[in-house]
């Protein structure tokens, strides 16, 4: 680490110099970097799968679906949209402003810091990098040290495929993070938990650095009753995919817990149990149908959640724990106490509590009495319920009848609100988050509103009042002496 710290200032200076030289602003540079990323994803695919298997026990299909695939899609979108994103946007002006023109010019911020998380170590590192590069910035990426194989692969490959004078990977843990946060950045993009989010934001305040925080929260899934068995099977798969199928529940947008009407709960439980067996099989660790827990610390954290006897007794499926292999079976609980940690802290693991309510509409109050989550999921065909959820709750996003998949949509922003964070990305929003939209007003020297300037008098004031309210006729009257300042 001493090495890294010694080289830190000179490294950052090199990155700033690359930015100052104007190189990163050129469309050709941005395109070449994005193409470089595309090549990296293609050529290193096998190694990426291997690293993810090592760090998290992920099956390569899951790794493709959640990381390599979505990244490839995002780079392609950036490449095909770059010209459009980089162009100025004209702003309409009122007639009174003629012959001026106005536009908004997107310019890069400068040198940006991206800190990513361990659960989707490639996805959460490179997705923001795509936006930062497309927007013309120099970049430092600090991947999570908790996913060491992925971090090291990124550190090895990025300098080979990208411009190492403008994009650097700096590996390390909290200590390196602290050093980095003491430096001056033009933007910090952080994905992680709220505790560290506060530290990042406090450090950023010293330099007035703008920040995007992608945090987490307890994402609820409201489960309404379904009559058709076709529908039931489909949504159950989606629920399970959105919990156990998403890095074993270790995802900011994983379903944290389910809310269901008490009458329907037994049916739901049965469906979940049987589908869990079908999807994840008898030995999910061996078949890699589910990822493992990232490390011992998190394993013990999850174990602790189940230690409370009143929580233990609510386990209705699974519960098996393999400490040596850091593996926890898909586990379902029925009505654990609401005051227990499992219902107050973000679970981030393969434990799925089901909470029953008298009426499904009670879920609105339940959700509103808790901090705002990154996503709310609602499985229903009831249009009224859908409308109520949208207008009566607040969350980063709302997805109906599916889970997690909003991550793959480019046209809707991905980000939180309240405790789940602020700022957003994906698609053009990634480009925008690393961009300063510079307003430009161009005026002609030919014409003038001379009444704008002192020395002041009533006549000038009357003209100003008409002009500013775009009262063109009134303006004319004043000018002709036919109307006075009242």
């Amino acid at each position: 680490m001493a090495e890294i710290v010694k080289h830190l200032e000179p490294d950052l200076e090199e990155l700033r110099e690359s930015y100052r030289s104007g190189k990163t602003k050129e469309a050709s540079w941005r395109k070449s970097q994005l193409k470089g990323l595309l090549t990296l994803l293609k050529e290193q695919e096998k190694d990426i799968f291997k690293a993810l298997e090592q760090d998290l026990g992920k099956h390569y299909a899951e790794s493709y679906r959640d990381e390599v695939g979505t990244l490839t899609k995002s780079v392609n979108l950036a490449l095909s949209s770059l010209k459009d994103w980089m162009s100025s946007r004209k702003a309409k002006l009122p007639i009174a402003a003629f012959p001026s023109t106005a536009e908004v010019f997107p310019e890069p911020l400068g040198l940006v810091l991206i800190i990513s998380s361990w659960n989707f170590p490639f996805g959460l590192s490179l997705e923001p990098v795509i936006g930062a590069i497309a927007a013309g910035n120099s970049v430092v990426l600090k991947p999570s040290e908790l996913a060491p194989a992925s971090s090291s692969l990124l550190a090895k490959t990025i300098p080979t495929y990208l411009d190492k004078k403008a994009v650097k990977v700096i590996e390390g843990g909290a200590a390196i993070g602290e050093h980095l946060l003491r430096c001056k950045w033009d933007k910090i993009f952080f994905t992680g938990n709220a505790r560290v989010g506060r530290i990042v934001l406090t450090a950023a305040a010293n330099y007035l650095t703008p920040v995007t925080l992608e945090l987490g929260g307890k994402c609820p899934a409201i489960f309404d009753s379904f009559s058709s068995s076709w529908d039931k099977e489909m949504v159950i798969k989606r629920v399970l995919g959105g919990k156990f199928g998403a890095c074993a529940g270790q995802a900011c947008i994983a379903i944290d817990y389910i809310l269901v009407q008490e009458g329907f709960a037994p049916t739901l439980l049965e469906l979940l149990r049987s589908m869990t067996k079908k999807m994840f099989g008898e030995n999910p660790r061996e078949t890699k149908s589910m990822a493992r827990i990232i490390n011992k610390q998190h394993f013990l954290r999850l174990k602790n959640l189940l230690d409370d006897p009143s929580v233990q007794s609510s386990i209705v499926h699974g519960g098996g724990m393999d400490e040596d292999n850091l593996f926890i079976e898909p586990t379902i609980l029925m009505n654990p106490p609401l005051k227990a940690s499992i219902m107050t802290d973000e679970i981030f693991g393969p434990l799925l509590p089901i909470i029953t309510l008298k009426k499904i509409e009670d879920s609105i109050e339940f959700i509103n009495s808790r901090p705002k989550a990154l996503a709310i999921y609602v499985f229903t065909k009831n249009e009224t319920l859908k409308r109520r959820i949208i207008s009566e709750t607040s969350s980063g996003s709302v997805t109906f009848n599916d889970a997690i998949i909003q991550y793959a949509a480019d046209t809707i922003p991905f980000g939180g609100v309240g405790e789940s964070g602020f700022g957003r990305y994906h698609g053009k929003f990634s480009f925008d988050t690393f961009t300063h939209e510079k307003a430009i007003l161009r005026r002609s020297l030919l014409t003038e509103f001379w009444f704008r300037f002192p020395p002041w008098n009533d006549f000038k004031l009357a003209l100003t009042k008409s002009a500013y309210s775009f009262d063109y006729f009134g303006f004319l009257l004043v000018l002709l002496g036919l109307k006075k300042n009242s």
């Binding site: 149908s289 709302v398 046209t411």
Partner: protein, 488 residues
């Protein structure tokens, strides 16, 4: 605050806590969400400025001795036009925005729904005390939030008038004014807000952001900076000079975040520019500017002393070529021009925020662009030229909140342009729709259908599933069909 009369309680941490509790309750009731409520409040803001124009102008004059026309143009008319615009556009702004979706999520539809952030804090500044309190408030109200306004204590008459009028005309269960200075502001900053909108100096901006960080509160910071004016020789000089002088001395006597701070011009052109400026200044303010009624005063003795210090700096002593007169008792300060002050002088390092205008000369104007960018990004930068290439280079290389070619400050009035800083000059932007968005959360909503599902998404995983996933994620319909055929 030092003076506590029996009727006025100290606004401390406890008071801030109960204020927050009350507003959270009102916000949770949903009252601020309806279109009707928002429209009623905005109409009442309009009423405040319409019916009390004279009271407002009197208060601003009492606080800042600003000429009436300046107050009208810079504060009243802009608040009015913000209201008008918000009222006219609110329906459109409140509508969800439908967006396309791709085959990756087929079948699906999506939209982006705007919702208020909740309970927001707006801290105003002293130089445009009405505008910088009410203009952001218009955005916050239009977006459906509950609002606390903390107007600047350096303008006591205006602050107290705002408190009175807001209390009288607006819904005080949802919109409140808290008056006071450091103690009251600190008490407010300890609370958990859903957004803080601050206008003021970078020093206090850092304090606000650090306080917000504890609660993960997003902030908008409208700060300042040294806004440069680059002047070429190929221009219509009289018009340019009027615009420069207007942006400087007719804007609260230089005490404005977007006022031209200093000028850069060529060595050859400087004498002509200086002559034209002197000529215009005399036409506007007469031979003795301290006697003119058209020049705003310096806000208080602290700032007055600060400006005197800038002039008394040894490094600038021989460089004053116009003005320099001041009247400490009445806080009057004449328009002052300095020529070629050293770059390490005080006046060239801090934001001037006053009627001193340094002019720096260079051989080639392009050389000045680097000088500007090395100083930290200002809120605005101005260029006067007819040279197309120079304009394009300026736009490309000079980073600032906003740029104006061939004028100064006017972009502030254009509601279709985002107004805000970058780097040291701030975070976030507002005006027009940008005000609405500054106080909104744009929530993604994705509707998924049941018509088909790629079991390829789910475990147990296999190579064949991987092929279909690749096709789905690439967005290629053909690829998907081929994979499905191969699959079956």
């Amino acid at each position: 605050m030092a003076e506590d009369s029996e009727t006025k309680k100290v606004f401390d941490a406890e008071a801030a806590g109960s204020l927050m509790k009350e507003l959270r309750g009102t916000y949770a009731s949903g009252k601020t969400r309806s279109y009707e409520w928002r429209v009623a409040q905005l109409k009442n803001v309009m009423k405040i400025v319409d019916d009390h124009e004279k009271d407002i102008l009197d208060a601003i004059r009492a606080d800042l001795s600003k000429p009436e026309q300046e107050s009208y143009i810079a504060e009243i008319s802009i608040v009015k036009s913000s209201c008008t615009r918000a009222l006219g556009e609110l329906n459109r702004w409140m509508k969800p925005e439908k967006v396309k979706t791709s085959i990756t999520t087929f079948p699906s539809s999506a939209e982006i729904v705007s919702e208020p952030l909740g309970v927001v804090l707006i801290i105003g500044a002293w130089n445009f005390p009405l505008l910088l309190a009410l203009d952001p408030a218009i955005g916050a109200i239009a977006a459906g939030n509950a609002v606390v306004l903390k107007p600047s204590e350096l303008c006591p008459a205006t602050s107290s008038l705002i408190a009175k009028l807001v209390g009288k005309y607006l819904d005080s269960s949802c919109i409140k004014v808290v008056e006071g200075s450091v103690a009251e502001t600190s008490a407010l900053l300890e609370q958990k807000w859903d957004k803080i909108f601050f206008t003021g100096s970078g020093r206090v901006g850092r304090i606000v952001m650090a306080a917000a960080a504890k609660h993960l509160t997003p902030v908008a910071l409208e700060l300042g900076g040294k806004c440069p004016v680059v002047v070429d020789s190929d221009i219509n000089l009289p018009v340019a000079v009027r615009r420069i002088a207007g942006g400087k001395w007719a804007s609260n006597n230089g005490q404005a975040c977007i006022a031209p701070d200093y000028i850069i011009t060529t060595k050859d052109f400087a004498p002509k520019l200086i002559d034209a400026l002197k000529h215009e200044l005399e036409a506007w303010y007469g031979k003795d500017p301290l006697e003119s009624k058209d020049l705003a005063h310096i806000v208080n003795s602290n700032h007055f002393a600060r400006l005197v210090k800038l002039l008394d700096d040894d490094k600038v002593s021989g460089k004053i070529i116009h003005g320099g007169q001041r009247d400490k008792a009445n806080l009057k300060f004449a328009p002052t021009i300095l020529l070629d002050v050293p770059e390490d002088s005080l006046v060239m390092n801090d934001e001037i925020f006053g009627p001193l205008l340094p002019i720096l000369t260079v051989d080639k104007l392009e050389d000045s662009f680097d000088m500007i960018t090395s100083r930290g990004k200002p809120l605005a930068a101005y260029l006067f030229t007819n040279n197309k290439k120079l304009k394009e280079k300026f736009v490309k290389t000079v980073s600032a909140g906003g740029l104006v070619i061939n004028d100064t400050v006017l972009h502030f009035a254009e509601k279709t342009l985002p107004f805000g800083g970058v780097g040291e000059s701030g975070i976030g932007s507002y005006h027009g729709k940008f005000s609405y968005e500054a106080f909104s959360h744009r929530k993604s909503v994705l509707y998924r259908g049941f018509a088909g599902d790629a079991s390829a998404r789910y475990p147990p995983y296999s190579d064949r599933k991987l092929k279909l996933l690749k096709a789905l994620l690439s967005g290629s319909v053909v690829g998907v069909i081929l994979a499905l055929i191969g699959w079956s």
